[in-house]
Symmetry: C2
Subunit: 320 residues, 2 copies
């Protein structure tokens, strides 16, 4: 049995696994490793830093002969930046968080596959209207940013699969092992988009202390909040809080976000805390599924392990 | 292929489906119908009203020759009530929400199978220590009461399956069709405990207006809150909010629960709203998965449909 789906067929790839384009950590080496292993590697273009993009897109292009892509934050990325990324010849561009209409048209005009990530049914309907080739249903267990209140992956995926058919849906949020990948498939998804699990790879561009915290942490120690974005002065739309490991600055300000936004001294205290080493320079974005992440593993091995475990989970034998 | 698991073997039943013992709606007729159809029917003993129990346990006992059980709210049920229920000869007793130590010992002494529902890993460890025969991992998509902050079913089930093995785990919360049942199994659960979907059956003891609201509603219209318990004067522990269809009284008081608890006039306004027909007498408890509930169906047909759809979802063919 192989896990061939509408998603693997669309991109001519072997495995129904996509790397979440995590802005920062998902650089060219990680994306290339995932693509070479048979998945779809997506570089995390984030808000669209041109220097970073030039470097990482050159790395992924040189690192794989297979399908690869790049993702952007819809609310932040400039059309010129997306156009620049398109000049590197990606197979797909993924857009997340915000109104994707303008950027989506640009991607489609270039004849490049359009992947739209959605966090509720209204966003899903818009994604279908815009002609998305793949829709990512992101549930609330996801690490990093996501929709609020949002829907859990388990309930969002089958509802969206029904709504979107025949457009393939990827499940995202809370998937960190092959059982989660198998669950995505039986729920009606054509694959899984996986983020946090790929942070614990040597290829990820991430602080080793963050990886250690993820490997040692539990999903119960994560929480969703907009506090750290406000503290960092990053203009994320408030409707997309982020899931991260518990943080003393969040405990202090949760529920008083407006006050924090208006309080320059408090935001200075956040920067001072970083300076003093009281907390990490970047929040440790983490999925609720981190209990399942217990080791650092090369991305290629991870793809293979995910698929093999999913195949075992789907085999009827253990259930007789 | 049949969906035989450690759970079905333990109770000598055909299908890995249990009826959630919803206090009130899950009466004897519904539990008997689920058991007769090959699942495990659990009567919803709730806080332990003796008159209700006597009637409904007599109905389930007369209605099925197969395994059946009864569930109680741990924080509310008196030992004498559980002992009384045991005199009806259930195969299993399920305990949910609160410290189950005392009642669990009573159930085990009677030689009856003990099912403990848990909402986090600390509760899970205690359930294992108490010798649970089955552990229910309840995720936050569940309708009605659940743990806060809790974990999503997709991430909680595999973590708990690893922790509890070889004790069988049931997945609960957000499962309303066969795809969800199949997902539970591949995640490592030995079956699914299903609540809200069984409200839309002729056997459920529930207001037809609530069923209509569930059939027409969407998971995005549900929210978790303790406001309605405070308004109703029901002493639920605050750490167990309940998911219900959106309610104007919740919108008014969410975030000001302590104030509401201290404000007798506000609670009178809630009762007056019921009197005036502004809102239903009982909140419409509803899972986040209600988009998948589109019809009223006899419980026996539902069990059959759930299992057939799960088998189709698990069949390798559609994925080639």
């Amino acid at each position: 049995m192989t896990l061939s789906t509408a998603f693997t067929e669309l991109f001519g790839i072997r495995h129904p696994v996509a790397l979440a384009p995590m802005g920062g950590p998902a650089g060219g080496a990680l994306a290339a490793a995932v693509s070479e292993a048979g998945g779809l590697g997506l570089v995390g273009g984030g808000r669209g830093d041109l220097g970073w993009l030039d470097r990482e897109l050159a790395i992924v292009r040189a690192g794989t002969t297979r399908s690869w892509g790049v993702g952007f934050l819809t609310w932040a990325a400039q059309p010129s930046v997306v156009e620049h990324a398109l000049s590197f010849g990606p197979t797909a561009v993924m857009l997340s968080f915000g109104d994707p209409a303008a950027l989506a048209r640009l991607v489609r005009r270039a004849g490049v596959a359009l992947i739209l990530q959605v966090t509720d049914l209204a966003e899903a309907r818009q994604a279908l209207d815009l002609g998305a080739d793949v829709i990512v249903a992101q549930g609330t267990a996801a690490g990093g940013h996501g929709g609020s209140p949002g829907l859990s992956t388990l309930t969002f995926v089958p509802v969206l699969a029904d709504l979107a058919a025949p457009v393939p849906v990827l499940a995202a949020g809370g998937i960190a092992d092959g059982r989660g990948l198998a669950a995505a498939l039986v729920l009606g998804a054509a694959g899984a988009l996986i983020g946090t699990r790929f942070l614990a790879t040597p290829e990820a561009l991430v602080d080793p202390a963050a990886v250690k915290a993820i490997i040692e942490g539990s999903g119960e120690q994560t929480e969703r909040s907009t506090v750290l974005d406000i503290a960092r002065g990053v203009p994320w739309p408030r409707r997309y809080p982020a899931r991260a490991l518990r943080h003393p600055f969040v405990s202090r300000w949760q529920g008083r976000e407006d006050t924090l936004a208006a309080d320059a001294d408090a935001r200075t205290a956040y920067a001072d805390g970083i300076e003093a080493g009281d907390w990490p320079a970047t929040p440790v974005w983490a999925s609720e599924a981190i209990d399942l992440i217990t080791d650092l593993r090369p991305a290629a091995d991870l793809v293979t392990d995910l698929v093999e475990q999913a195949e075992r989970a789907l085999r009827p034998a253990p259930r007789r």
